[in-house]
Every structure is written in C-alpha cells, then in structure tokens.
C-alpha cells in the first residue's frame, strides 16, 4: 500500500463515512429540533423531546467537526475552495448551528423566553439540514472553478435546482430520522403524533427520493452500470417500504433503523456520483478538484489513516456505550 492513490481512495471513503455518521446521528437530533412544534403538543412533551436528544446531540455534532478536520487533513484544496467559495452560505450554516446548539440550554434556563428559543431550535435545525444538502449538491453537481482551484460563481449560483433538490431530499430524510427517533424514545400521545409524522414523512421521502435518484441517473452518465448506485436505490426503498409496514404495526424501534437505511441509500448514491471528484467543475472536468489533485502528501495520509483506523473504532465503541446508558424511553428525570 505504498501507492498514494490507495490512500487517497481510503480517505475519500473515510470522509464519506464521517459525513454519513454525521448525517444519521446529528440528522435525528436536527430532525427532532425541526419537528418540535409539530410533535410536542405542550411544554411537557417538548421537554421530553429535547431530553431525548439532550445527552447525545453534542457528541453527534463532533462527526461534523471531525469530518471537516479530516477533509482539511486529506484534501486541503477541497476544504479551502468550498469553504471560502461558499462563504456566505457557510456563514448561514454557522449561524444555524450556533442557534441550534445554544437554544436547548437557553430554553431550559430561561423559561420566560422559552418560545423564542424553541423557534431558534426549529429554525437552526431545519436551516442547517437544508444547507448541508445544498452544499453537497453543489460540489457533486458542479460549480464554476478557476484554473487556480478557486470558486468562480456567486452566492446565487449555489441555489440552482439540482443542488436545491439535494437540500430538499436531505431535509426530508433528516425530518424522517427525527420523527422515527421520537417514535423510539416517547410514549402515549406524543408517540402517536410521532407515528403520524413518520407516516406522512415516509410518503414525502418516497417522492423526494424518487426524484433524487431519477435526476442523479439522468445527470451523471457514469452512474449507469454502477453497482453501488443500484444498491443505494434498493437500500433507500427497502428502508421506506419496511417503514411503511413497521409504522402500521406500531413497532417502536424498527422505524429508526429503516429511516437510517433509507438515508444511507441517499448518501451512497451521492458518493457513487461524486467519486473521484471532491468538487466537480461545471466549466469542464479539467478544472475539477479530485482526490488525486487536491490531497496532502502520502506521509500525512498514512499518519492520519493510523489515527483514524485506531481512533474511530474506540470512538464508536464508547458512543455505543453511552447510547446504551440512555437506552429506552426518555423519562421525566432525564429533563434539563
């Protein structure tokens, strides 16, 4: 494995896994945040919903921080081009993430303005979920780039229909993650409402996923014959069909896993469409940032591979341990 290309491919896969982990995990707590007023009928129920994500959301967000660090470490040009090129959009992402993070803590300690902080939680969660999809959509669909690897578009370049579709499909998947998490963690009327949300969001996801896969297969000719793409389609729809039945049977736990499978499918298709690009150029493939022209040196990739391949299994191990500590229905004494 002395060949640098092997490590470039390895790092594409590892960053893919980090971002997927982020989408699935922070996805459910952003989903719960965005759905708060629709699922929670009163303060008590909203407390329960927030308590269900309280102990874990900050660990979930580290998947993004680590994914960003890994992108910086493995493909600094892609990190630099996207973050500086999408400047205003990135500032909106930060704004959303800041409010999403502080709103739960502020709501608990500042009851006089609880309504305001709830709005911040809903807005921050929904906006972040939408913008992440739009950003991914842009780097996959392609943006204008210069021969110096700099972004040559404008803010509104980012809001073209295909990237927006990625945003909508991502938001729909995040909301479904949130609703199915709520089903798993709550009881009674609150759970009943969460089941309703799962059913509605399942149909929305059927539509957005269908459009998403069709647009992908039309836009990216390289996907025809790509096994991963077909696996992705099967995963997503198998997840959604499973969801249809388990929501009918009022199964507590299965919807969350099925929603996650469906989300994995969306991600896998995006990865298949993307590889080996990191930021596709809309003005000609020669300008694209790929894993081959944007990476750090072989030694850096190797050092990082050692850290990641030893470190991440440990991280996943203690993350599972902590999730198990908070397993089962959220109780009143879990509240802030």
């Amino acid at each position: 494995m002395e060949n640098i290309q092997n490590f470039q491919i390895l790092w594409f896969v590892l960053i893919f896994i980090l971002l997927l982990g982020y989408a699935l995990l922070d996805g459910f707590d952003m989903g719960v945040g965005a759905l708060l007023p629709f699922l929670g009928g009163n303060k008590e129920e909203k407390d329960t919903l927030i308590a269900s994500i309280g102990p874990v959301w900050d660990g979930n967000e580290v998947w993004l921080i680590t994914g960003g660090g890994a992108l910086f470490a493995a493909f600094p040009h892609a990190y630099a081009t996207a973050f500086s090129g999408f400047y205003l959009a990135m500032m909106l992402v930060l704004l959303a993430l800041i409010f999403r993070a502080v709103s739960m803590e502020f709501r608990a300690n500042d009851p006089a303005r609880a309504g305001l902080w709830e709005k911040a939680l809903v807005g921050g969660s929904a906006l972040a979920a939408l913008l992440f999809g739009v950003a991914l959509g842009n780097v996959i669909y392609g943006v204008p780039l210069t021969d110096k690897m700099e972004y040559a578009g404008k803010f509104f370049t980012l809001l073209r229909p295909v990237p927006l579709l990625f945003g909508v499909a991502g938001l729909a998947a995040v909301l479904l993650q949130g609703a199915s998490w709520a089903v798993m963690k709550t009881e009674g009327e609150l759970q009943e409402r969460s089941f309703q949300a799962v059913r509605v969001l399942m149909w929305i996801n059927v539509i957005t996923a269908l459009v998403y896969f069709v647009v992908l297969s039309v836009t990216f000719s390289r996907l025809s014959g790509n096994v991963l793409f077909y696996v992705a389609v099967v995963l997503t729809f198998a997840g959604l069909i499973g969801l249809f039945f388990s929501a009918r049977k009022k199964n507590d736990v299965a919807p969350f896993w099925e929603s996650s499978f469906s989300f994995v499918g969306l991600f896998l298709a995006a990865g298949a469409a993307q590889f080996p690009n990191l930021i596709a150029a809309s003005n000609g493939p020669n300008f694209s940032l790929t894993i081959y022209n944007s990476s750090t040196g072989l030694y850096t990739l190797q050092v990082m591979a050692v850290i990641a391949l030893i470190g991440m299994p440990i991280v996943i191990g203690y993350t599972i341990f902590v999730y198990r500590l908070f397993k089962g229905k959220t109780r009143a004494d879990d509240h802030y």
């Binding site: 680590t66 660090g69 600094p76 990190y79 800041i98 203690y318 500590l325 879990d334």
Partner: protein
C-alpha cells in the same frame, strides 16, 4: 477597510470570544473530577451537591464553547484558504486528530455528566467525570499543538512548489514551544476556575448560604487558588525562556527591548515609544537578563537586530504581556492570602476577603486573553513564524463586503450569547447547589 484587515479582526474577535469558554471548561472539569472523586471515596452528599452544581454550570459553558468552536474550525477554510492550502499537510491532521482523539471523548461523556446522574451508577458517573477531564485536556493539547506549530514550526520540508510537506509527525507535534505553551495554557485555565469557584463559594459563605456545601466549595477553590498560580509562575518562566530562545523578536517586543545588550532591564510598568524606539517606565535593572538564565549580565537580543518589517506592533505586545504578568502576580497574592486565612481558620468570617472574591472572577479571563494577544500579535507579521506572512494567508475569493456582513453577524450573535451566558450563569449561581 481592506479584506485582509477585516479577516484578521474577525478571527481575533471570534477566537477571543471562543477562548473564554474552553478556559472555563478545563478548570470546571477539574473541580468536578475532584469533588466527584471525594464523593465516591467519602460518600458525603456535600460533594455530590458540588459536582451537580458545577455540572450544571459546565452544561452552559460547554454549549457556548462548542457552538463558537465550530466557527473556528470553519474559519481556516472560509477566511484563510491560502493558509489552509499551504499547511494542509500539517495543520489538517492536527485538527482531525483533535476530533478523533479528544473532542469526541469530551462531548460524548459531557452528556453523561449533565444528564446521567439518575441514569448511571456512581462509578460510571465518576468515569464520565474522568473522561470529560481527559477529553477536554487532550482537546486543549491538540489545539495548542496546532497553535505552537505556527509559532515554532518543525517536522516539515518545503517542496519546489512552495508547499509545506510533513516529514515527521512527531517533530511537528512536539515542536519546540508545544510543551511550554500547553502547560502555561492549562494552568491559566485552572487559575480561571480556581478564582471562579472561590468567587462563587465566597459569595455563598459571606451571605450565609448553603452551609457546609459552600464552605467545602470554598476550601477546594482556595486550595486550587493557592497552588495553581505558584505552579504557573514556574511554567510561565519556562515559557518565557523558550520564547527568548526560539522567537527572539517576540521576546524583545514583550519587554520593549530595542538594543542587544547585556544586563537587560525588566519593566514593571511602562510605555513603548515605537517612533523613537525607546521604552519608558519603572524597571528593575538587569532583571530581564537575570530571569533568562540567572545571570545578571547575560545577553538578550534586541529588536534592532532584526529587520523592522518583521517587528510586531511592539507596544501592544508590551502592554498585553505586562497586564498578564501583573494579574499573575495578583493571583499569587490572592491565593496565598486565602491559604493563610484558611490555615488559620479565619476565612469563613473574613468578610473583607470574601466580599471581593466574586468581583475577581473576570480577571483571569483578562489575563489569559492578554497572554493570547501577546502570543499572537507577538508572532506578527507572520502567520507561521519565519515561513509565511499573514498577508499571504487570507482567502482570495472572499470580498471585504462579505466579511463586513459576517463580522456584523458575529458581533450581534456573540453579543446575544454573551448577555445570555452571563444572565444564566448568574441565575444558576443564585439557585445554588441546593437546586434540584
């Protein structure tokens, strides 16, 4: 205003604001670990109350720190893309390692600390306290590694295209200033919390609130306040020697030392006239030389030995450095005085001492921010000392107008966060350790 200056203002503002919170997190994690260890050993409910109280504060501190920390990770790409392209080989892995090795650990277990009291056994809870402490300090370790590498780069080569290539990860991590800067920063954080704990407990004791819990809290705070600034004196001394050795321009600016010579003076307070290249003030003759290697006649390099375009803004570095040192001396006095009062058993009735303690809570923040300014402004005009100028590091596609937008956004949002943080901090303190 040009985009470069705006980008620098934005970075200084966002990092300066962010730094307030991790500085409290580390010390709070230490206090929680101490009281939870005592709780486990002595099975005394007083310690449980202290842990739970600081866990609630930690929840507030941690969330604002995490929210403002993400901004920093984005900022290298958004505002300093040329820097990111140049140093991805070294700076990227350090940030990624921080995530994998440290921040995951801290963030995952902080949830247990804040929400897990009724869910988990006392031993698991103690383990969570330990892991949050370790995770937080490892996180500081990696961030200081990254910053120290910018001060004293090592373990690299420059290829023909001018790109910095990592040659030894070990040398890059354990670069010449890393250990000194890590110890200095961690101790600053512990002092921050020692003053905070003493201030809060002092307020309770003076008002006669929370009885034994408040007195125990005060004892923990005062012992920390007596020990940490003294250790810091040694750590700071080591750091200063390292700066003189590895960053002589910065060291000279810290003391407003222009001409190379033997027997350099140490200023207690002063002013640097940068135009006439003179420093005025009250000084101790030959003491700067003495502190360097305990020889009153050792030679210290002056600014004039270096090209003027490589000087930092001398007076800013001088003043911020002296504010930090002055406050450090103040904390030593405060801690020793407190220890004496504790030793003689007078502290619980020493209202004159207890009255002032809460007012000192912001002072360590002033000290570590000043130290940070000394370190970072002292490195200018370099972003990586001797290798890359700050002027060459900014993003090329981000316009001044866009930065004005983001700067205004951060100013407003952070003002809101600050006001809310202070209000809720005070509220939690007023509820006290008796609260559920």
């Amino acid at each position: 205003m040009d985009a470069l200056l705006l980008a620098r203002i934005q970075f200084a503002f966002t990092i300066g604001f962010h730094f307030l919170f991790p500085a409290m997190t580390l010390g709070t994690a230490l206090v929680i670990l101490i009281s939870e260890t005592l709780h486990l050993m002595k099975k005394d409910d007083v310690y449980r109350k202290i842990t739970d109280f600081f866990a609630r504060l930690l929840g507030l501190i941690f969330v604002v720190g995490a929210a403002t920390g993400i901004v920093m990770e984005f900022s290298f790409g958004t505002n300093w893309s040329q820097y990111s392209r140049t140093v991805g080989d070294i700076f990227g892995p350090i940030l990624a390692a921080e995530g994998v090795i440290a921040f995951f650990l801290e963030s995952v277990f902080v949830g247990v600390l804040i929400f897990g009291r009724k869910r988990v056994s006392p031993k698991v809870y103690w383990l969570a306290a330990l892991l949050v402490f370790i995770g937080g300090h490892l996180s500081a370790f990696w961030i200081i590694v990254a910053n120290s590498w910018m001060q004293t780069p090592a373990g690299y080569e420059i290829d023909t295209a001018g790109k910095i290539i990592l040659t030894s990860f070990y040398d890059a991590v354990f670069n010449p200033s890393m250990i000194a800067r890590f110890s200095h920063t961690v101790l600053a954080s512990w002092i921050t919390c020692a003053v905070m704990v003493s201030g809060i407990a002092g307020y309770y004791v003076r008002k006669g609130l929370h009885g034994e819990t408040a007195r125990t809290m005060l004892k923990i705070g005062i012992i920390l306040l007596a020990i940490t600034p003294l250790i810091q004196l040694g750590a700071a001394h080591g750091h200063a020697i390292q700066v003189i050795d590895t960053q002589p321009v910065k060291a000279a600016a810290m003391e407003g030392h222009f001409k190379t010579g033997r027997g350099a003076p140490l200023y207690v307070i002063g002013y640097v006239d940068e135009g006439n290249e003179k420093t005025y003030g009250i000084y101790i003759p030959k003491f700067f030389s003495f502190l360097y290697n305990f020889d009153f006649n050792s030679e210290i390099k002056g600014l004039k030995d270096f090209p003027k375009e490589n000087w930092p803004p001398v007076n800013v570095v001088f003043q911020s450095y002296h504010i930090m040192v002055g406050l450090g001396m103040f904390f030593i006095t405060l801690g020793l005085l407190g220890m004496w009062l504790l030793w003689t058993g007078k502290i619980y009735t020493a209202k004159w001492y207890l009255f002032w303690l809460p007012f000192f809570i912001p002072l360590p923040h002033l000290a570590h921010e000043s130290g940070w300014i000394t370190a970072e402004v002292g490195r200018q005009p370099w972003i990586i000392y001797g290798l890359m100028k700050t002027a060459d590091a900014a993003s090329v596609v981000v316009s001044a107008g866009e930065i004005v937008f983001s700067l205004v956004m951060f100013a407003l949002v952070y003002l809101l966060l600050f006001v809310m943080f202070v209000r809720l901090f005070v509220k939690i303190v007023k509820q006290g350790p008796a609260a559920p």
